[in-house]
Amino acid sequence: MEFVKKDILSIEELAREEIELILETADSMKEISQRDIKKVPTLRGKTIVHFFHEPSTRTKTSFEIAAKRLSADTVSISASTSSIVKGETLIDTAKNLEAMNPDVIVIRHQASGAPHMIAKKVRSSVVNAGDGMHAHPTQALLDMMTVREKKGTLSGLRVAIIGDIAHSRVARSNIVGFTKMGSTVVVAGPPTMIPTGIESFGVKVTYSIEDAARKADVIIMLRIQKERMGDSLFPSDREYANFFGLTHKAVSKAQKDVLIMHPGPINRGVEIPPEIADGPHSVILDQVENGVAVRMALLYLLIGGSRHASDD
């Protein structure tokens, strides 16, 4: 099939077949990263702007490496070095970037919907690298790639997502993605972290970690943001770790070959104890490796294929 999307803003707008195509492409991209010479000329002459309006280490590095392995030229802008600090609006910044004719603008922003706003204003492809509490589509794709690689399928699985569902863009994108591919998703956390109307996504809700873990094929732990204590979502780290952190007992109720995942960065000892994060079920570093492959696949599909040729 031909990939005809201009932008990658959320998992919702990707059809099941498109997700499959991205994951298949990512599988072949992964091989490039395992070579001695990790570079192909596919995107030579293309320009990619990485516009990170919110701190990021993993995602930003992953995007940059992905672009470089495909020989694209990359420019990186962060909030502190951009004109935003001089009072420029987001749309003006985007229009100015656009005037320099980049092929792709990768954006991370703390406001939900910011990449959508930009995508409507520019001709370049826009890739959402995480917006507010809304979406983190490349994270969901790399999570699905990791699960598919280990389990051979994405359908019929039981996926537990545990933690602050309410404020997590990773949770939203994974819920939509895994559900779309035919798996069952269970979300768990204290009720203060379960958003209103989450049932409409077709997920099951429980407030017990052990219930969520029972018979799970995949457990995705979410990062607890300590600043959320100010919002009275939970009383203390200690209480959170005791009642909502992952335990050996909970893992023992899951399938024997359960995968333990985490989008990072980890609060060791809060949502996940170190021995589980580093244990045999953990695929946390595979996720990071696959992140590069998925992002290479997306860049390739957006600007390396025939889309632009057929547009003209």
Binding site: T89, L90, I91, H109, A111, S112, G113, A114, H116, M117, D131, G132, M133, H134, A135, A166, R169, R172, P195, T196, G197, I198, E199, S200, F201, D231
Partner: protein, 454 residues
């Protein structure tokens, strides 16, 4: 100069009139309302019959009328409604301070184009209208503009800070007809109690913007599945309804008159209905967007659908509509809130609340008649007679000897909303491009035609 509006369907809730009549205007006053001439503008056979009866009875008078007709400028209003000038008791005019969004003049022009002869402007200007000199300034500027009558609403608290009372006596003396901290709730219940008590002594109406700021938190839209899907922080109904309940209890405690602004939530309607049954002196308004739109309007992060209170669900829209029908909600007000693209073409979280409404309020409200929810008479009551009564101003009725402030409505005309044609300086409307039926085609203030499109 003498002017006759001939053959229109005169709808005047104050006198319970709904009949074909000719309206004669002279020297800024209505001098005569008389049965309309035969064969023009009848809407039903029944009414036609009645009109004919009356015609026969006043044969002599009719001959006299014919003579008058030759001397008057005649406006043919057959097939149109002639109603008392519409009153918008909830408008933001942005002057002084934010003239790039709206001035008193452009706001008054927008009012005239929307069929409003009277508007009440909220005090959240810069400086805040919490003292006599700002009220004076607004009234002077309104007099210069003269497209609509402008009544300023003073602040409840000094600087809208919610800490101490503004000088109600001075405000009233200068011409303020009500007090409100609109845009901000009075979070301190003691201060709200004192405001109600103190306002009572001056006969000032207190208009309450009901919002529990702690519960609202950083919310930017209605709480629910759509907010969750969009990753936007939610505002539950209890944010509004909790404060509605508090203010009703305080009105009951103090015996002061309370008017609840922009009702949007099902629970608020329920509390107001119950309070009215108990005889609490409370009235309420809603705005057209709360009976025309749901939170679905935000699905593409459209900042023109961001407002406070937020657009809510189908259930809430149904409750607001029911409240309008059963009289729980007395008034339709626009909550006209102009903002420029500087405040609206930004991230949803950062966008300003509010939409312009003066030029869409009537067409959207006329849809309630098309939908069979309201008859024309109660609709006009909610947009003219009721706000006049609640505010205690000499408007909202058509009577011989009274001021010639009236609106002619074409209830049938189809048109597309085009924000670029707005008289308002701002165009932040989620209704751009909507096909609507019915609008004002003539607006008259003190006998002067301030808007005409016929």
């Amino acid at each position: 100069m003498r002017l006759m509006i001939r053959g229109g369907r005169v709808i005047d809730p104050a006198s319970n009139t709904d009949a074909i009549k000719d309206v004669v205007v002279e020297d800024g006053k209505i001098v005569e309302l008389r049965p309309g001439a035969e064969g023009r503008g009848q809407r039903t056979d029944n009414r036609k019959q009645k009109t004919e009866d009356r015609q026969q009875k006043s044969e002599g008078e009719r001959q006299k009328s014919t003579i008058d007709n030759r001397q008057s400028t005649i406006i043919d209003a057959s097939g149109k409604w002639v109603v008392p000038g519409l009153i918008d008791m909830h408008t933001h005019l942005r002057e002084p301070g934010h003239e790039y969004k709206e001035t008193i003049e452009t706001g008054a022009l927008a009012a005239a184009a929307g069929g409003f002869t009277t508007i009440c402007c909220m005090p959240n200007t810069s400086p805040v209208n919490d003292n006599r000199s700002v009220t004076d300034y607004i009234l002077n500027r309104a007099k210069e503009a003269s497209y609509a009558r402008v009544y300023p609403v003073g602040a409840i608290s000094a600087g809208l800070k919610g800490e101490s009372l503004a000088e109600f006596g001075e405000l009233k003396k200068a011409g303020a007809i009500a007090v409100s901290d609109d845009g901000h709730p009075v979070m301190n219940s003691q201060l709200m109690r004192r405001a109600l008590e103190y306002a009572k002594g001056f006969g000032l109406l207190v208009i309450s913007h009901c919002e529990d700021l702690h519960l609202a938190g950083k919310g930017v839209m209605n709480e629910g599945a759509i907010a969750t899907r969009l990753g936007l922080r939610g505002i539950p109904n209890a944010v509004e309804a909790g404060m509605v309940a508090r203010d009703i209890l305080l009105a009951e405690l103090t015996g002061a008159r309370l008017h609840i602004a922009h009702v949007s939530a099902e629970d608020s309607v329920r509390y107001i209905r119950e309070a009215k049954k108990r005889g609490v002196p409370v009235t309420a308004e809603t705005a057209p967007h709360y009976f025309s739109l749901t939170e679905d309007a935000i699905l593409d992060y459209d900042t023109n659908a961001k407002m406070s209170p937020p657009l809510r669900t189908k259930k809430d829209v149904a409750a607001v509509r029911k409240g309008l029908r059963d009289g729980t909600i007395d008034v339709i007000a626009s909550d006209h809130a102009p903002h420029s693209i500087l405040e609206k073409q930004v991230e949803f979280d950062a966008a300003a609340n509010g939409i312009v409404g003066l030029e869409t309020s009537l067409p959207l409200s006329l849809k309630l008649v098309k939908d069979g929810l309201l008859d024309p008479m109660p609709l006009i009551a909610k947009m003219s007679t009721n706000p006049a009564n609640i505010l205690g101003i000499p408007a909202g009725r058509l009577r011989p000897g009274g001021p010639a402030e009236l609106t002619i409505i074409d209830p049938e005309i189809f048109f597309a909303v085009d924000v670029n044609s707005f008289k308002s300086r701002s165009c932040n409307s989620p209704f751009d491009g909507w096909r609507l039926q019915g609008k004002a085609i003539l607006t008259m203030v003190e006998g002067k035609i301030v808007f005409k499109e016929m």
